[in-house]
Symmetry: C2
Subunit: 224 residues, 2 copies
DNA sequence: GTTTGGATGAGTGGATACAAAAATCCGGTG
DNA sequence: CACCGGATTTTTGTATCCACTCATCCAAAC
């Protein structure tokens, strides 16, 4: 699965990896607010290592766009403006559109069964209300793109999902339940069943951009 | 400009930055073959610093996909299989297609004048034969996308250009002069002049994928 | 009251030192 | 002659230390 939860990160081989997973998880959950400065020593103490591996983790997080790193000025949580969020959704729309276009020839009955299962799980998570829904939603999409057998594409999409995850969580917590989600994703499945790559691509693009506009409509409390 | 040449990297503020630019440049020029192991101490000695900043540069290069980093096993030059190269072009096609769609409303007369200038420079560089053409070509595209005012999109596209640069250079050196390049890019400009975003997007996608198939046809000596 | 300059301290970047892991070498064994 | 196992060497990963940068604060001048 492309989006692993790293709650028990101490299993990882290197300290740097542990620091990376720990911080990524924290940032995905929105534990640190945008603009908050991450102090290497504090983080290092939290997970029981020295500053060095934490610093290297910072670099990776910076490459992921989750933090901003300026020379001699430390590491601050990145945070996205509304414009930047919209940009991410624009990019997502074409990348995920491409992904579904590519998987069209590989779709089988089992695929659709699995998609139904994932959709059901997503729905249930939504009813319960914990922000687990966000993960189930990612899982649904990840399963789809995973079939494309395009490692770089998959990773890029996953990185974008991670980047906007805190905002998805805030949004989801706020609107309680995205009622439209069920039919949205059912539409998607239907488009896949149509067998027409161009159609599926377009529907996926619209699905992504639709989410973007919902998120944008929902006020703009996270504009930095 | 999105693609700066970093020949005199000693101007940069931090040692890590210097190491990063130095290595990126070397990798772009194809100075190290895929699979070649990069020894931190050697690099550090070359540019007069300790292993530490070089290690951090490795992490950034790894995020860019230029090297592969495995725990306790060092840093090797990444190299792309033919499949991976094609994947990069697939991703490029949709991202660059999106970019031109977005810039449509911003096009002015000055834009087209600048594009003509850039096209001319590209052409001249092609006649001279130095692999400067690759840089001029990147410049042409970068100018176009730069107008989109989508920083993330621009950076992602630039990163992909960097990743395939060594292969573009090999290809260009081999086929001597991409004769079709002139009309290819003129087509692109004409599509932009049409004012139809969907058309421009499609033409750009085809332009990118066309390059991909040219590169793929030209044998596969770089398959790992 | 506002601004500017410098002292002070916190924090970052980088080098060296040390520990741990791989890779290599070498002799023994089947 | 090929293969296996252990010691040695090489290389990586982490910790600690030092130098330097930047931010803050206070005082003096305007």
């Amino acid at each position: 699965m492309a989006f692993q939860s790293a709650s028990n990160a101490h299993l990882s081989s290197t300290a740097e990896e542990e620091a990376y997973l720990y911080l990524q998880q924290a940032l995905r959950l929105g534990r640190y607010k945008p603009g908050h400065r991450l102090i290497p020593e504090a983080i290092a103490a939290e997970i029981g290592m020295s500053r060095m591996p934490v610093r290297e983790a910072f670099r990776r997080l910076s490459a992921d766009g989750l933090v901003t790193l300026r020379p001699n000025r430390g590491c601050v949580v990145a945070g996205l403006t509304l414009d930047q969020i919209n940009e991410v959704f624009e990019i997502r729309s074409v990348l995920e559109g491409l992904a579904v276009r590519l998987i069209m020839p590989r779709l089988t009955l089992e695929t659709f069964e699995e998609l139904d299962r994932l959709l059901l799980r997503m729905e249930r998570a939504g009813e319960i209300g914990g922000s687990d829904w966000v993960l189930r939603h990612q899982e649904f999409h990840a399963y789809l793109y995973g079939m494309s057998e395009r490692p770089k594409l998959i990773r890029q999409i996953a990185a974008l999902h991670v980047a906007i995850e805190p905002y998805m969580r805030i949004w989801f917590d706020y609107v309680d339940k995205p009622l439209s989600a069920r039919e949205e994703h059912q539409n998607l499945i239907d488009a896949l069943k149509s067998g027409d790559g161009a159609v599926a691509e377009r529907v996926m693009q619209e699905h992504v951009l639709g989410t973007a506009s919902l998120l944008a409509d929902f006020a703009t409390p996270n504009r930095r």
